[in-house]
Symmetry: C2
Subunit: 348 residues, 2 copies
């Protein structure tokens, strides 16, 4: 990072807010010394927390917000009644150019709805998608959509592929990221009609996209492609199934090491490597879901995370801003307009 960046933080979002947000900002401050923060929330609750961290306080400007969007508020209700909420004001700071991006650990549906209303979508994107990283054998894979859109049409899927590709190229720095469409088999005839049409469109595309074809659920962990594209229903199920499986495995392991004093000693001897595994699979490391397609940088942190996890979500926003991701998606989408939309010819 060369230039100074300001990131807006919804200080009141998340199970353990505002303390967790303050802790996270403090970790992020050390990692990104040139970043400053706009903190939106209850001034009276934030003041003592910041007084305890004078260096963070120096990097922060507090903007009072008297309302909080609750975790169970319906997006439509939050939109109507949350105009003075910390979440809404933090998003508006991005629209007003006061912040380069916003991070919130609050209600996902409300954050997406407010982001779209306040910031709009990028030209050429009908619906934004939620994207996040997954650990894989080869490193990391980006998957989208993870739950913003329960049903997706062919256009949505193609747009997700473009956004994922640009993200992998610019933020992850991959020269030629490969893209896969999540399906129940690799053969061309498998799956829903929408998937087959989207695949045909991506194959025929004149974009510089390395379309791998269909991938299956086990290709996510194998790292078969750099970007996995799917609808929000399937993506959400896959994300949570993977999280649940990792959790189960970790629990089984803990049991194994507690089984006897010999096993406990074994754990101590192998601790170094085991800690590496824990780090590699730590969900906090992958915290920070990006709302790709919104005309502004919006990152959703897991609501139950701690300061370490929240700092990682701030890092995602910083990376996206520093790499000017939205300018690049815009450029690529302009190219998509020139693509022959010959999906029917290719699949008929």
């Amino acid at each position: 990072m060369d230039a100074r960046l300001t990131i807006a933080l919804d200080a009141m979002g998340g199970d353990k807010a505002p303390q967790m947000v303050i802790d996270g900002a403090d970790i992020a401050r050390i990692r990104y010394p040139s970043v400053s923060f706009l903190l939106f929330g209850d001034e009276q609750r934030l003041a003592p927390l910041l007084d305890a961290k004078p260096r963070l306080k120096a990097a922060c400007t507090v903007v009072h917000a008297e309302e909080v969007v609750t975790g169970d508020a319906k997006p439509s209700v939050a939109l109507r009644t949350g105009r003075r909420s910390s979440m809404r004001l933090a998003i508006e700071a991005v629209r007003e150019g006061q912040a380069a991006g916003v991070v919130s650990a609050g209600n996902t549906g409300a954050l997406m709805a407010m982001s779209v209303v306040v910031l709009r979508t990028l030209a050429g994107i009908s619906r934004p998608a939620i994207a996040s990283f997954f650990p894989t054998r080869r490193g990391e894979t980006v998957m989208l959509d993870l739950g913003a859109n329960i049903e997706c049409d062919v256009d949505n899927l193609v747009q997700f592929a473009v956004m994922g590709e640009v993200f992998a190229r610019t933020v992850l720095g991959l020269q030629q990221p490969t893209i896969g469409l999540l399906n129940v088999g690799a053969e061309e005839l498998k799956g829903h009609e929408e998937l087959r049409l989207a695949a045909a469109r991506l194959r025929a595309s004149s974009l510089p996209i390395q379309f791998h074809g269909f991938v299956e659920g086990d290709d996510i962990g194998a790292g078969t492609v750099d970007v996995v594209v799917t609808d929000g229903f399937t993506g959400n199920i896959a994300l949570k199934t993977a999280e649940g499986t990792a959790k189960l495995y970790a629990e089984f392991l803990r049991g194994a090491f507690r089984a006897s004093w010999l096993a406990q000693l074994g754990y101590l001897l192998a601790r170094r490597g085991l800690n590496k595994v824990r780090k590699r699979t730590d969900p906090r490391r992958y915290n920070g879901a990006m709302f790709l397609g919104v005309n502004g940088i919006v990152v959703k942190s897991h609501g139950g995370t701690d300061g370490f996890g929240f700092a990682n979500a701030v890092g995602v926003a910083v990376d996206m801003a520093a790499n000017r991701i939205n300018d690049k998606i815009r450029d690529e989408l302009a190219g998509l307009g020139a693509t022959p939309a010959n999906s029917q010819a290719a699949t008929g």
Copy 2:
């Protein structure tokens, strides 16, 4: 098991068939001494394999089949051209009452298509589902459909719930198995229309079903419910994502224990507990997917499994036959006919 059972085996299905099938049958023979086998396949290839295992040979009758359904054959093609295949003849043995069930590690789509054509579906079931076990924190969960039906309507989902419930009660021996519908959130308003209508129908049902409501991807590993019901697209993605995640985790762990000689020693000390984890998560232990809703017992083994895995699939067929699962599904479905189909009233 009291009575003698005969199970038909497709000796030619699977990557390492017929040797793998013979190995599996030999393990199953020891586990189930009262079971005998009808082996369908190439007599000339099977004869020397059986000669090497005289005790298995005594429990087997070989039925020559000159054709084999290949792994990449389309179901429609297999149906037309595979009339003299080992798979088809093995299924026909169930229809003719010569076998209580059939196990094949061959082409899944062909096996399902042939099963439906030869055996038909149970009265009241429009489409069969593929069901299998998952390891969970609490023990085991049954999930269906894992890929037979890419798109499912409300009737299909309700029927899957009934079949899963009967299975959990009769084969797993659970008194009051709980049923969950896989969705992207637990709230009533989440997900596809079909899911909401199916939930309303199950809630209003007069069946003795313990309907838990919606569950999410991480509830699978957590064992929140005994039976997870979903469409075949989502189920297949969830199954393979879980498999891929477990594989990734296991690979990370192997790396950790190989990192140093201290870590290797640590592994040796903790080996006993770690072997237990390996056993609990061994995919071969969960091998044997049931085609529930077919009017006859059909079990699909993973194509890449070994004799140990195939023997487990045979065990699934034996359990289903011994528990007369299809008679019980039939009884429950008769009750379903008497259910007020007030899904509209409940969700309108």
